[in-house]
């Protein structure tokens, strides 16, 4: 048993930490974006990602023949947690979901076209799985892909495509085989985001970022932009989630938020008395700090399970971690506003507000954490069936 990094891992963590301090950029590293810095469509962010690429920190776990270093995924975890701790953009879906799927299943053409661009941070992706009738029931996607000579003709709609308004390429699941069982009729496509048949409609959110719905009208995709085998789309989507457990949902933003709240409580005054002397404040913070330590423990648990390399993806460990941590993330915001009382209601960004409204903003920004990426109830179903061996319950 060992709760420390190995000396090599620690050396890397120290190097990343030093680099992030030296390359601090307040425009790119904005903690008030609450774990979504990578969604900022700014030239500064793109330049920062180029610097990460130049360090060789994109695609570290990829095979050497595709420009990676073949080092264990735990290094990507260390990097991503450090990026998140500094509120910097995290290594994203390009090196993760898309790169790793292309490496395992993509044609030589697609590998040659996309993998070097991913490593150089020259391409931005949007991912399109969800639809109006495919939310938690992700395999129910109905976006239609009809076979036409030389390719496919796509019609329908996607929901919640967060990066659609600035991405270069769209990674999309569509139904190519409607007569097959629903998990076996889906294929994956790569589509240029500037395709004339795509219409991106912004859906502003209660957080800082916009998401989008995307409408497909006769979007032609050539045969060689179908990824992997026809009908294997849903299996590749599931596999990519398992491959990406190391970088999926970082703990650092929540741990940092707990620290910010503790820092506030150490110095704030109410009625000329230190807030920290209030018994309720002390109880609330003791429990938040304790639960943050449990979230860390659950993260250690899934990182170790992923490291073990038993071949079994740490699906259960990851679900337990996501369930507990996202619930805690929201609770930290909720309790913070309670402790600040009515002053907590002053809208973010104004000097008038405690911590310039950091927790007012975070209260809104974290609203979706227990929903996105598999809602809490989906995580509980996974734990009940795969961990406890309980029967299917839906």
């Amino acid at each position: 048993m060992d709760f420390d990094f190995t000396p090599q891992e620690q050396k890397f963590a120290d190097e990343v930490e030093r680099w992030l301090v030296e390359n601090h950029d307040p425009v790119v590293m904005d903690p008030t974006r609450e774990n979504f810095t990578q969604l900022a469509d700014t030239p500064e962010r793109r330049a920062f990602m180029k610097k990460l690429a130049a360090k060789g920190w994109l695609g570290m776990s990829w095979p050497k023949e595709y420009g990676g270093q073949e080092i264990p995924g735990v290094y990507e975890y260390i990097l991503n947690e450090a990026l998140a701790r500094h509120a910097a953009p995290q290594i994203g879906k390009g090196v993760g979901i898309i790169g790793k799927t292309l490496i395992r299943h993509g044609s030589e053409k697609l590998k040659r076209e996309f993998l070097p661009k991913v490593l150089a941070a020259d391409v931005e992706f949007a991912v399109g799985y969800s639809e109006p009738n495919a939310g938690s029931d992700a395999a129910n996607m109905q976006l239609k892909a009809d076979k036409v000579p030389g390719g496919w003709n796509l019609n329908g709609q996607k929901m919640w495509t967060t990066s659609a308004h600035f991405a270069d390429w769209y990674w999309v699941g569509a139904r190519t085989d409607p007569d097959k069982p629903k998990h076996d009729g889906i294929s994956l496509f790569l589509i240029p985001m500037n395709h004339a048949g795509l219409e991106v409609q912004s859906l502003p959110t209660v957080g800082k970022d916009t998401t989008n719905q995307v409408f497909f009208k006769d979007v032609f995709v050539p045969d060689d932009y179908l990824v992997g085998k026809r009908g294997q789309g849903f299996q590749m989507i599931s596999e990519a989630l398992d491959l990406e457990r190391f970088t999926m949902f970082t703990l650092s933003p929540i741990a940092e938020r707990t620290k910010v709240l503790v820092g506030w409580a150490r110095t704030a005054q109410r009625d000329d008395k230190p807030v920290r002397e209030d018994r309720d404040v002390r109880r609330v913070l003791a429990n938040i700090v304790t639960d943050t330590a449990v979230a860390k423990a659950l993260s250690t648990r899934f990182v170790c399970a992923a490291k073990a390399g038993s071949g079994k993806p740490p699906t259960v460990e990851s679900s337990q971690y996501k369930l507990f941590t996202t619930t805690l993330s929201q609770r930290v915001c909720d309790e913070a506003l309670d402790l600040m009382s009515v002053a907590g209601t002053i809208r973010e960004g104004q000097d008038e507000a405690p911590l310039r409204g950091r927790f007012e903003g975070a209260y809104r920004a974290t609203m979706n954490e227990t929903v996105g990426g598999g809602g809490s109830e989906i995580q509980k179903n996974i734990i009940a069936r795969r961990h406890l061996g309980l029967p299917k319950n839906f």
């Binding site: 060992d2 337990q320 009940a384 309980l390």
Partner: protein, 373 residues
């Protein structure tokens, strides 16, 4: 980062589990409830022969010289089995106090006997209508010649009926002192009363009981510091592990039941309302276990556990209480009967949550470390 146990740790875990399976079935647990002595001689003898009674005691006193990490593994098993033993008060707490502050004579006399399971020492700490902090210790020890004369009342003294010695927290001119007292001393009366868990609890009335000043453990006035340090560093983590073990066993029983018990023609586990309770419970248990191991690992590596240990006991015992309540809901009406085992866990969970520092006290320990340092 690596959560795997090494071979020796796995051996200790397997050995303890095997021993308890054979010598501590639920029938043994039930028989020990409300008994004035409170533990089966057979089980204790087996634990002694397996080296568990001396687990944390150095080899020079005949012990196994293991760390709190190994103790946490053993305690998770004890918690799973609901094992009724004076191990915590004697082999963890009293041995820890003697090791931390005892004279050579005191250590030589008692540690080998504790290690062998031949002697049991318990701690007389709490008093009626008084709290968990140092201000709660009021029992007076007045110096008279070469003696202390003790007057006052102690309560919640576990396993006192079987104890060869008591470590009494007493108020002297110097502050709080720890006194090693023979329970057969004149002027000392033990009264057994029943507790929620069925563990033996005693009230002890001291009316002019006379003990030699040489019975003091450590320097004058150092008693609270010694006691609270040993409880924090070496006591809270095994208790937290015990809670995780109890919660895990209670949930496992419940999950198995939910697979076979049918209502509306479906197993209970096929209802999301119930399976989600169990998924939540398993998440808290699995996370709590790693937190306990992390606390124990830090202690074993000589790092401070001033925050970790209270966090571990706070979270683990809250989880134990919460999980047993949830399990009772899934079992339904039968959980309310004496015949079914859920109530065994349910009662012990609450008692453990309130014992050896309760929720507000532990929260304050964490808060002080977070906010005041």
């Amino acid at each position: 980062m690596d959560l795997q146990l090494d071979d020796e740790q796995r051996l200790i875990q397997d050995m303890t589990r095997g021993l308890l399976k054979e010598h501590c079935p639920r029938s043994v647990v039930r028989k020990a409830e409300d008994d004035a002595k409170g533990y089966p001689a057979g089980l204790w003898k087996q634990m002694a022969e397996a080296g568990l009674t001396g687990l944390l005691i150095p080899e020079s006193y005949g012990g196994g010289a293991q760390s709190v990490l190994e103790a946490a593994l053993v305690y998770e098993e004890l918690g799973r089995a609901l094992a009724p033993t004076p191990h915590f008060v004697s082999s963890v707490l009293s041995a820890g106090i003697l090791l931390a502050a005892g004279s050579d004579a005191q250590k030589n006399e008692w540690l080998p006997r504790i290690a062998r399971g031949d002697a049991i020492i318990t701690v007389a700490w709490l008093e009626p209508d008084r709290g968990y902090g140092p201000e709660g210790v009021k029992l007076a020890a007045k110096a008279e010649g070469a003696s202390f004369v003790l007057s006052g009342t102690k309560r919640h003294v576990n396993y006192a009926g079987a104890a060869d010695r008591l470590i009494v927290l007493a108020r002297t001119a110097a502050g709080i002192d720890l006194l090693l007292v023979d329970p057969s001393t004149p002027g000392l009366k033990l009264t057994h009363y029943l507790s929620a868990s069925g563990e033996p609890h005693y009230r002890i009335d001291f009316t002019g009981a006379r003990v030699p000043q040489s019975a003091r453990i450590g320097a004058a006035g150092s008693g609270w510091e010694t006691f609270s340090r040993v409880l924090t560093n070496d006591g809270l983590i095994p208790l937290a592990a015990y809670a995780i073990g109890g919660a895990a066993a209670c949930l496992e029983d419940t999950v198995e039941y939910a697979k076979v018990r049918k209502q509306f023609d479906k197993p209970l586990g096929a209802f999301q309302a119930l399976s989600h309770y169990m998924a939540d419970a398993s998440t808290r248990i699995d996370g709590g276990r790693v937190l306990v191991h992390e606390a124990a690992w830090n202690r074993a590596h000589g790092r401070s556990v001033a925050r970790f240990a209270p966090m571990a006991k706070l979270f683990a015992t809250n989880t134990y209480q919460d999980v047993t309540r949830t399990c009772a809901q899934i079992w339904g009406g039968v959980a309310f009967t004496i015949e079914y085992d859920t109530q065994l866990f349910f009662r012990r969970a609450k008692e453990l949550q309130l014992s050896w520092w309760d929720v507000p006290y532990l929260e304050e320990l964490v808060a002080a470390d977070v906010l005041d340092r």
